[in-house]
C-alpha cells in the first residue's frame, strides 16, 4: 500500500473511523515509520488542544433567539402585506443624518424612474405606497429604515434596493384595550433598547390590568425566558404573578429555576412558586434536585425549605 494512503488514514485512526483490517494495517505501518508516528502524535495533540465543544453563553443564545423572533415576525408580516400594520421602530437619532442622505438618493432614483418612458405599472418599485410621500425637504413623519441593497452596481444605470417606511403613531388608551396590549407585547419582545422593554413590562405589571389576553402572558413568558436584560426578566416574573396559576406559568418558573444563570432570578422563581403554593409533584421534583445541585448555597437552602414546607402540608 502506498505511503500516502497510510498518511490519509492517520487522522481516521485518531477519530476511530477505520475498520479492523485498516486499523491493523495502519498500526503495523506505524511500527516502522517515524514520519507517520510523528503525524499521529501531532494530530493527537491537535485534538487535545481543540478540546470539546463549548456551550454557547446564555446571553448569546438569548440574543440569537430574540433576533430570530424579530426576523420571523418580519417574514410573517411581509408575506401578508408590504407594510405591517403594527410595525414599531425606534431610530437612533445619530442615524438620521445618514438616513436623510439615503432618502435624497431614494427620492432621486424614484423620480428618475417615474419619468422613464415605460409605464409605472411595469415596475414594481413605482408601486411602493409611500413613494409619492417622500420628500427630502419636508419634515414628513415618515421614517426610512432597514435599507438593503439588492443591486448596488449602477454601471448599467439601474440600482435596486428595499427599504421600510414607517410612520410614528401616537397612541393613548386604556391598558385593558387589546390593541394597546398588543403594542406593549410587541415592545416587550422586539424593542432593541432594553430601557423600552423594561418600560413595557413595567406598564404590564399593574393591578389596573383587569383583562389581560393570552398574548400578554405569552409575551411575558417569552421575555422571562429569553430577554438578555436581568431587569426585564425580573419584572416579567413579577408581572406573571398577576396571572392565575396554570401550567404555562408554572413551566416558565421551572424554566427559570433550571436555566437562568442569574441566581437572583432563580431565587425569585422559588419565591414565586412558594408564595402561590405552586408545589405540585413536578415542582417538587425540580426543587428536590436543586437542593443538591444548584451552585448557589442560598438556593439550595431555599429549595430545601420549600420542599419541607410542602411535605408538611
Amino acid at each position: 500500500m502506498r505511503h500516502q494512503k497510510f498518511k490519509e488514514w492517520i487522522p481516521l485512526l485518531v477519530y476511530d473511523e477505520l475498520d479492523d483490517a485498516q486499523r491493523a494495517l495502519t498500526e503495523k505501518h506505524l511500527a516502522t515509520c517515524a514520519e507517520c508516528r510523528q503525524q499521529l502524535e501531532e494530530i493527537k495533540e491537535l485534538t487535545e488542544v481543540a478540546g470539546a465543544a463549548h456551550e454557547p453563553p446564555d446571553d448569546l443564545l438569548r440574543q440569537a433567539r430574540r433576533e430570530l423572533r424579530i426576523a420571523l415576525r418580519h417574514q410573517h408580516e411581509s408575506s401578508r402585506g408590504w407594510i405591517p400594520k403594527w410595525n414599531w421602530r425606534v431610530l437612533v437619532p445619530s442615524y438620521q443624518t445618514a438616513i436623510a442622505g439615503v432618502v435624497c438618493l431614494a427620492l432621486g432614483l424614484v423620480i428618475g424612474r417615474f419619468y422613464d418612458n415605460q409605464s409605472p405599472g411595469e415596475h414594481e418599485i413605482l408601486q411602493l405606497p409611500v413613494a409619492g410621500q417622500l420628500s427630502a425637504s419636508s419634515n414628513d413623519d415618515i421614517s426610512i429604515g432597514n435599507i438593503r441593497f439588492i443591486d448596488a452596481d449602477a454601471t448599467d444605470g439601474d440600482v435596486e434596493f428595499t427599504y421600510e417606511a414607517t410612520k410614528p403613531v401616537r397612541v393613548r388608551g386604556s391598558i385593558n384595550d387589546p390593541a394597546i396590549q398588543n403594542l406593549l407585547s410587541v415592545a416587550l419582545i422586539e424593542a432593541q433598547n432594553p430601557g423600552v422593554r423594561l418600560r413595557a413590562v413595567n406598564v404590564l405589571n399593574t393591578d389596573q390590568l383587569k383583562q389581560p389576553d393570552d398574548d400578554i402572558k405569552r409575551a411575558l413568558i417569552t421575555a422571562l425566558k429569553t430577554d438578555e436584560n436581568n431587569g426585564v426578566r425580573r419584572q416579567a416574573l413579577a408581572a406573571l404573578q398577576n396571572f392565575p396559576y396554570d401550567k404555562q406559568v408554572r413551566d416558565a418558573l421551572l424554566y427559570v429555576l433550571n436555566h437562568d444563570s442569574n441566581p437572583a432570578m432563580r431565587i425569585a422563581a422559588i419565591d414565586a412558586i412558594s408564595a402561590r403554593h405552586y408545589v405540585d409533584p413536578e415542582v417538587l421534583r425540580v426543587l428536590e434536585e436543586k437542593m443538591y445541585t444548584d451552585g448557589n448555597e442560598y438556593i439550595r437552602f431555599r429549595s430545601r425549605a420549600v420542599v419541607q414546607e410542602a411535605k408538611q402540608q
Binding site: P11, Y15, E42, A53, H54, P56, Q63, A64, L68, L72
Partner: protein, 190 residues
C-alpha cells in the same frame, strides 16, 4: 422521533407559533454551539443561527416525516454553513504567517512556557486563539467536516449524508483539514 416532537412539528406546520418556538428551543442551543465552533465568531454564529431557523420556518410546511427531523434540520445547518460568508471576509485568508512583530516585520510565534497557573491560563487562551485562527484558514468544506467530526461527534458516514457527498470525499476533507491545522500550529507546539 418522539410523539411530542411530532405534535410540535404538526402544530408548527399549522401555524402554531408556540409549537414552532418549542421546536426551535429543542435544537437551537446545539445549532448555535456548532455555529460558534464553525465560524469562531459570535456575530457570524448568530447570522448562521438565524439563517438556519428562518429556512426551517419557510420549509417546515414541506417536511413530510420521511426522515428524522434532526437529520432534516442538520442538512439545513450544513447548507447554511457552507454558503455563509463571514463578516470578516479576509479572515479566511489570514494565516499565522501574517503575525507581525512591533516593527511590522513578519514575526514568529513565541509562546513562553507557562510557569504559574495564571501563565497556564493565558497560555491556554493563546493556544485557543491560534487554533481558532488556524481553523479560519480552512475551506468551508474542510472546516465543516472538522467541526462536525471533532466538536459534534458525527461519524464521517453521517457527515457525508448531511453534505450530500461521497464518504471518500469527506475523508479527504478531514485529512486536508488536519494537515493544514498541523502545519499552522506546528510553530506553537514546538
Amino acid at each position: 422521533m418522539d410523539l411530542d416532537e411530532k405534535e410540535l412539528i404538526v402544530g408548527a406546520q399549522r401555524g402554531d407559533k408556540t409549537a414552532f418556538e418549542q421546536l426551535v428551543y429543542r435544537y437551537d442551543r446545539k445549532v448555535l454551539a456548532l455555529a460558534v465552533s464553525y465560524t469562531s465568531d459570535e456575530e457570524d454564529a448568530k447570522d448562521v443561527y438565524q439563517e438556519v431557523f428562518i429556512r426551517v420556518y419557510k420549509a417546515l410546511p414541506d417536511f413530510r416525516f420521511e426522515s428524522k427531523f434532526s437529520t432534516w434540520l442538520y442538512r439545513i445547518v450544513v447548507n447554511v454553513c457552507l454558503s455563509h460568508r463571514s463578516r470578516l471576509q479576509n479572515r479566511e485568508h489570514q494565516s499565522l504567517d501574517a503575525i507581525k512583530d512591533e516593527d511590522g516585520r513578519p514575526g514568529t510565534l513565541e509562546l513562553v512556557s507557562p510557569e504559574t497557573p495564571s501563565d497556564q491560563k493565558t497560555f491556554g487562551k493563546e493556544i485557543s486563539r491560534h487554533l481558532r485562527t488556524a481553523i479560519g484558514t480552512l475551506s468551508p468544506q474542510q472546516r465543516l467536516v472538522f467541526t462536525l467530526r471533532h466538536y459534534e461527534g458525527y461519524k464521517l458516514k453521517e457527515i457525508a449524508m448531511l453534505m450530500n457527498c461521497a464518504e471518500g470525499t469527506v475523508k479527504k476533507y478531514l485529512f486536508t483539514a488536519t494537515e493544514r491545522l498541523r502545519d499552522q500550529l506546528r510553530p506553537v507546539f514546538e
